[in-house]
Amino acid sequence: MTAALALGDDALVLSHRLGEWAGHAPVLEEEVALANIALDLLGQARVLLSLVGDEDELAYLREERAFRNVQLVEQPNGDFAHTIARQLFFSVYQHLLYERLAAGDGTFADLAAKAVKEVAYHRDHAEQWTLRLGGGTAESHERMQRGLDALWRFTGELFQPVEGTGVESIGVDWQALRAEWLAAVTDVVERATLTVPTGRQSGAWQAGAGRQGLHTESFGKMIAEMQHLHRSHPGASW
């Protein structure tokens, strides 16, 4: 397993979840924005997966236990606040990570240099909505807090390089990344008049489970839908 697969799966799976919003967004501008972010992530996934092998074989023919994405990105969309909370946690992480990768001279430098510009936009979008929902109405405030609280336990995994994925060897100081992520998230959450959750930051099994191919239950259904047509026509090209 390589880091490209882990990072590619993160982008692929989050892109898929955001794609589920199409036609259901609260306002037309968000139809455009969510599709735009999904498309950026899908582009990143295609480049990353292509470093490992055939993008379609990897996306459509692996089973649940072979996916290496963090559990955070596979979490169902929930309401708009839940989606924004997931997006905030992930895009701040991805932005900080890709900034580091872009500055280095590793395999991912070129890819990260391009992607970091997209991710900066995703982060801005998530931060702005966190501020709006947190500082909007009593209802939006409550929903946004609920989203942050519900997803908090999936954030620890982001900084847990797991042996075997290669993520540990891509030249990133994970402890420093974690500290910077927490500072950035805390800043936005507090400006949004919300509270940074205090619960444990580990998921269903343990932090790092997704990177080992241990996923949450909704993930299997998600990939069943994603892979169904491709698997129904073995060997066909599209």
Binding site: A35, R132, G136, T137, R143, H233, W238
Partner: protein, 348 residues
Amino acid sequence: MAAVTAHQQKHAAAGMADRAQDAAQDPVRAAAFDAAVAADDRIEPRDWMPEAYRASLVRQMAQHAHSEIIGMQPEANWITRAPSLRRKAILMAKVQDEAGHGLYLYSAAETLGTSREELLDKLHAGRQRYSSIFNYPTLTWADVGAIGWLVDGAAITNQVPLCRCSYGPYARAMVRICKEESFHQRQGYELLLALSRGTPAQHEMAQDAVNRWWWPSLMMFGPPDEASAHSEQSMAWKIKRHSNDELRRRFVDICVPQAEALGLTLPDPDIRWNEELGRHDFGDIDWTEFQEVLKGNGPCNEQRLAQRRTAHQEGAWVRDAAAAYATKHATGRPGSTGTTTQPGEATA
């Protein structure tokens, strides 16, 4: 068809009455309007225009905008199941473009003194229409290709002449929209071509989709000329440049060789080249089905409107939050300090 004729007469009578009233109130400006239309000049938002012209444009542009928004649904239905990452990216980009087209068109309609909110309310209440084509279901992946080739193809045939429409904001929106639509149409054609040349099962899937989408696509041009309620007046105002039947014939002429190149057949045994007229003859359209779909009795009418209403209702708290935030932080952009507010900007 009797209902359409009655409606047509009523509409024409109302239009003539409005027109007479407008002209009587302001004969100088009415004459200037007529002269501008005759000279192929563009009418702009601040120009005087007959009330019936304004109402007719609002109706048409709203319906067009609504079609883009409802039209996202049948295609979005396949985003999560697209069979390759390349196709998934293309489809996501297309659905995103459609939301963008909706936004252009609502903006263009707003120059006539209405608002997006008002138009969406009318859509949700069933008081304004969207294209009948989107009341058909997307049952297989090939439907995504058939929509691109046939539905977008019919839309382009309809819309390219609108780039020369007499109302400036509509014409300019259409220039941008048509560029993207022709791109989508080529992508749809290419999708079908890949299926048609693929495995036997893929070929069959493509043929089945074309069989189901062909006739509904022909219905997109609207009722036959003799039963078209708005055509005559729209053509006189140069909102519309060609009749429904004329555009429909043009579309058939374009599609016949394309179907051949695709290696697919069109589900109409009566299609044949008419040497004398220099165009294709084709079979009769089932206008009863068309009327039923328009009346709300198509396969997906209820589902489409229900999803749109649900998205709007479930998004209400998000829009309320954005509005409340904007009121509290009058400079608009979240995170701004509020110290750069200019006089007059502080009303959100």
